[in-house]
Symmetry: C2
Subunit: 467 residues, 2 copies
């Protein structure tokens, strides 16, 4: 073949070489040029089309590099056998199907809400700007898999001062959120672990460990936290606990139970405690209670902290403190994984914490949340005959427990929902809903994202329908 | 007991309640106050210390909440049994042990380097500033687990225009880097997969899949990419490939092999192709070659792209396009995992791409890299007698293959290192070093992070020692 029926469009704005390339490619794709057929020489085609030979060469080169044709020395260009060819789907239908469901409630008393109004946006912006201005090239270069040393060092000092956590920067691993760190922890610990979790609990952690293939045991909670009797009778080698403020029950684990857990962990080499310290920042009576890790002398506690709860969920930065004996395992099983947090974000947070903004912000938020918390408790006074109130010393929600066996959680939630108020029944936080066997209905009331006025209005409605 | 030998220091700046709390806590920790002992009443202690009763109450409350003492109605406060108590480690030694090893090379020809000098820092800063200014509260709120819709929509349009990838935003999952997305993909696909990878390959992906418990098979590479014969003879149901530019061999997979792979994938329901399109942006001859996914009519290709290579390694943003049939599996196995990318970063990149800055930046970088690439090729002219040059049409490194059997890769790398130049032997990229059986030594020369002058100087040295 010496000619191709190409019609070039000089006005189209599409490069000539591309027009030639596209034409020949289409001919091949549509089967009009078949395997082993020879293309016209670049010189012949260039003359035929009255264009520069280099333009044809460029088109042929592109076809060669994509494997549509091949160049045989001294013989010319031949169509390659390309097997069955598929046509490109031409249509691109970008449907906007995932439109956020509008929140149809008047008030949502979610225990996971937070308040962002008091966030020092301008400080954050200023730090962002400075970080980008001061660091040019360097901050865009690859960082340490564990996170930047400076940031880990800052966290190290912070958790020591505020939580009593003893560690060195090398023990800290920064990650994009708790979920990621739990996935990573699964990689570090490796297969065949048995994890004990309280029930009800942070269900996402349960699902992450399950999906890592771990055997899971759920433990009942007594007034001091995870039942030691059940833990001892289980085969578990890892216990996942939230000593400062169990989610969702609000139990603050007393020192005695903490010591029992540490003792349990020390009894076998492969035993560990995972301390999820997710919202220890918010405590309304007296000073914050030290982390369990602070008492750990035998390197048994894996400590987890997050900025997603204390700053903003959209800030995907959490950290994990590994006991030293696990560091080698980390290197072996997961040390090759790149960091999941951008170095810019690390530098911003580093400055935010290091310069004291974080502490000031937490102090401010503690006051704000305490005001809301006190407001909620006051609004709950009329409820006291019908409900017991608990979990009120820390965290961002409180718990109402019905004093009557007759009232069901479902009933309470449904009547509230009908009145435009979303409340959260305790049964949602059991690993399986059927585990929730409590005779007395329990409802969580989160207040963090509501204003005092909203809390008052919501509670007035609940008062009308529940009392 | 009615008295405690507390000496309060009014000048210390430590709250009185905290001094009392600390004193009693220490007495308990040190065993001086023993279990079941009764504390003086708040009234008695307040009188004894000549301070307000509420101060003592606050101290007691803190001790109660931490579980050191308990309040018994009508009886008073009693020391709790706290088991064996551990002392807090007092010393906090923050050693700066992880000092970055200084790069002792004159020139490092790493194939993983990139050039950041041309990055539009000021544009990035401006966008960051605007994103933080325009969005206040909303951008700090929790985002969609897959990533924000707007950003996924932008990526969707981008990969369609530039790579021919057909998808809808719902198929896109944003994640903090390729490593994370591969870990996530492991969760989505679930257990018992057999993955075929080229050898040499991107070893980190190999390790991630291994650590997910997958059975791995390594396939030899012929001039068109992964050997189909070996793939067909393997038990693998997943093939991991880099069709636009295989790392590290630089092979660009021709259309014929792509079709064979698609055909293979269609032959069984659980077969998938993972297309890692990590550096498709940089191609120096003609136009970029369409992604394999563009030809996929039967939902068989899992497409992976990243901004860590094309913008900066420190930008931890990659994405994955799931075939529609895998979406349900995603929801079930991993849909509960929070996003790993901060919404601020998503919004910045969204604007950076959407406003055309990314395209302009890539065009600029393509020119810069092409200049370096051409410079390197020119410097390599004198090497042609002794080395074959390949992989020169795309990516950020080229490959030298010795024409003599006598020369070993180790020898070449060592003599270079002695002269202050770091080069990378091909054997480093085999899953196991022993797999590298090539008789002819192969060396990778990366040029992205060096200036033209540095390339010239480095190559002059190599010329002296290798030729």
């Amino acid at each position: 073949m010496n000619e191709l029926a190409i019609t070039l469009d000089m006005e189209s704005g599409v490069y000539l070489y591309e027009q030639i390339y596209q034409y020949i490619k289409n001919e091949i794709v549509e089967g009009k040029l078949s395997s082993k057929e020879r293309l016209p020489s670049t010189r012949a085609l260039a003359e035929h089309l009255q264009i520069a030979r280099s333009t044809v060469e460029l088109a042929y080169e592109q076809l060669v590099s994509e494997g549509y044709i091949e160049a045989k020395p001294y013989k010319g260009y031949f169509i390659c056998p390309v097997g069955e060819l598929y046509h490109l789907k031409k249509e691109q239908s970008v449907k906007r199907e995932e439109i956020k469901k509008e929140n149809s409630y008047l008030f949502d008393l979610s225990p996971n809400g937070i308040e962002m109004k008091a966030f020092p946006f301008s400080t954050w912006r200023r730090i962002s700007k400075n970080v980008l201005a001061e660091h040019q090239k360097d901050i865009f270069e690859p960082g340490h898999p564990k996170g930047d040393f400076e940031f880990r060092d800052t966290i190290c000092r912070y958790v020591y001062s505020f939580r009593g956590v003893n560690c060195e920067p090398e023990q800290i691993i920064i990650g994009a959120g708790n979920d990621y760190l739990l996935v990573l922890l699964g990689k570090i610990l490796g297969e065949h672990q048995r994890v004990a979790m309280e029930n009800p609990t942070y269900k996402r952690a349960y699902r992450i460990f399950s999906s890592a293939g771990y055997e899971m045991s759920t433990m009942p909670i007594d007034k001091n936290g995870m039942s030691m009797e059940h833990l001892r009778n289980s085969q578990a080698n890892i216990a996942y606990i939230m000593p400062s403020h169990q989610f969702p029950t609000g139990v603050v684990m007393p020192i005695g139970r903490r010591m029992e857990l540490l003792k349990w962990a020390e009894e076998a080499e492969n035993r560990y405690l995972i301390e999820d310290d997710y919202d220890s920042e918010f405590r309304y009576k007296g000073k914050p209670i030290q982390a369990l890790q602070a008492w750990d002398k035998k390197e048994k506690v894996i400590y987890m902290g997050t900025f997603s709860k204390s700053i903003a969920p959209a800030i995907r930065v959490s950290f994990m403190v590994l006991p030293k004996p696990l560091l080698e395992q980390y290197e072996r099983n997961a040390g090759f994984l790149s960091s999941t947090v951008s170095r810019i974000d690390q530098a911003i947070l580093n400055e935010f914490i290091g310069a004291g903004h974080y502490e000031r912000y937490l102090n401010k938020m503690r006051k704000i949340y305490r005001t809301k918390h006190d407001c909620l408790l006051e609004c709950l006074r009329p409820f006291k005959n019908k409900f017991h109130i608990s979990g009120e010393n820390a965290g961002l929600h409180i718990i109402l427990t019905s004093r009557e066996k007759g009232t069901s959680e479902e009933q309470l939630a449904n009547t509230a929902e009908d009145a435009g108020i979303k409340v959260y029944g305790m049964s949602n936080y059991f690993v399986e809903e059927k585990d929730a066997k409590d005779e007395y209905a329990k409802i969580l009331l989160g207040y963090a994202s509501l204003s005092e006025e909203e809390i008052r209005n919501a509670l007035l409605i609940l008062q009308k329908i529940w009392l």
